[in-house]
């Protein structure tokens, strides 16, 4: 609390109960970005659960349903075009990777008490970089680039 009373700190902008319109001007540190993306990716996967189970259902139930599963990536599902199916799956891949890596980061912090500012910063940067990198790698495969 001593920081709050020195004159240098007084001139800093103070954000309390951030309003939606202030989000843009609020510079979030990498750890904060990881945190909000952890929530967003979790909610994304929660909302897409029926689609995930549909993929599980069609891919394992029978050879005929397996056919319609692979076909979803070629001809789409009903009125939904194939590129949108792929894009949704890409979103899920990113969501899973980010949620997984950020979750491991949490567990690692819990287990080793690695909660210094520097550790929080570097592990957050690693989380963001690794999840995006792996998403691009798997995304290239998904879209048939290799």
């Amino acid at each position: 609390m001593t920081d709050a009373t020195n004159s240098k700190a007084k001139n800093r902008p103070v954000y309390r109960n951030i309003h939606v319109t202030e989000i843009i001007s609020y510079r979030l540190p990498p750890a904060g970005v990881v945190s909000i993306l952890h929530r967003i990716s979790g909610l994304l996967m929660f909302l897409l659960l029926p689609f995930i189970i549909w993929m599980f259902d069609t891919s394992v139930s029978s050879e005929i349903s397996y056919e319609s599963f692979t076909n979803a990536f070629v001809a789409g599902i009903g009125f939904v075009p194939a590129w949108f199916v792929k894009l949704t799956v890409l979103g899920l891949i990113w969501g899973y990777l980010h949620h997984f890596i950020a979750g491991v980061r949490h567990l690692w912090m819990d287990a080793t008490h690695s909660v210094s500012k520097e550790q929080g910063h570097s592990s957050a940067v690693i989380t963001l970089a690794l999840s995006v990198l792996l998403t691009l790698l798997l995304g290239a495969k998904l879209f048939g680039l290799y």
Binding site: R39, L43, P50, S61
Partner: protein, 119 residues
């Protein structure tokens, strides 16, 4: 810690601890499942319907997948409920969203288990 009678503890701080711990335990289970599935997925050989369905038709894999489905439902319940509690201030809307979350998760878990158990 008494949960009944005149000495019962009326403040529920340990409910938070229980959920916090449950979220981590379920996360570890799902992470292990991911590694186990990935290991089988990356085994040599052509990956067609037979091998893919074969992975899930082993009894031990069925049991593990079943545990993971339940874990996922509990994990997502804690997480999504936290989101509603943090951002939705209207009690009526929050309750509605929480009920929706429960119905959604129980429904999805039921569907996933049905798919798994008829394999």
């Amino acid at each position: 810690m008494s949960t009944f009678g005149s000495k019962r503890i009326v403040v529920g701080a340990h409910y938070g601890l229980r959920d916090w711990l449950a979220q981590r335990v379920t996360a570890v289970l799902m992470a292990l499942f991911t590694v186990v599935l990935l290991a089988q997925f990356l085994m040599p050989g052509e990956l067609g319907y037979d091998r893919w369905a074969g992975i899930f038709s082993q009894q031990w894999m069925k049991v593990l997948t079943f545990v993971v489905i339940i874990s996922l439902a509990y994990h997502a319940w804690v997480g999504v409920r936290d989101i509603w509690m943090d951002y939705v201030k209207s009690v009526a809307l929050r309750l509605t969203l929480q009920v929706f979350t429960l119905v959604w998760l129980v429904g999805c878990a039921g569907w996933a288990i049905q798919v798994l158990w008829r394999l």
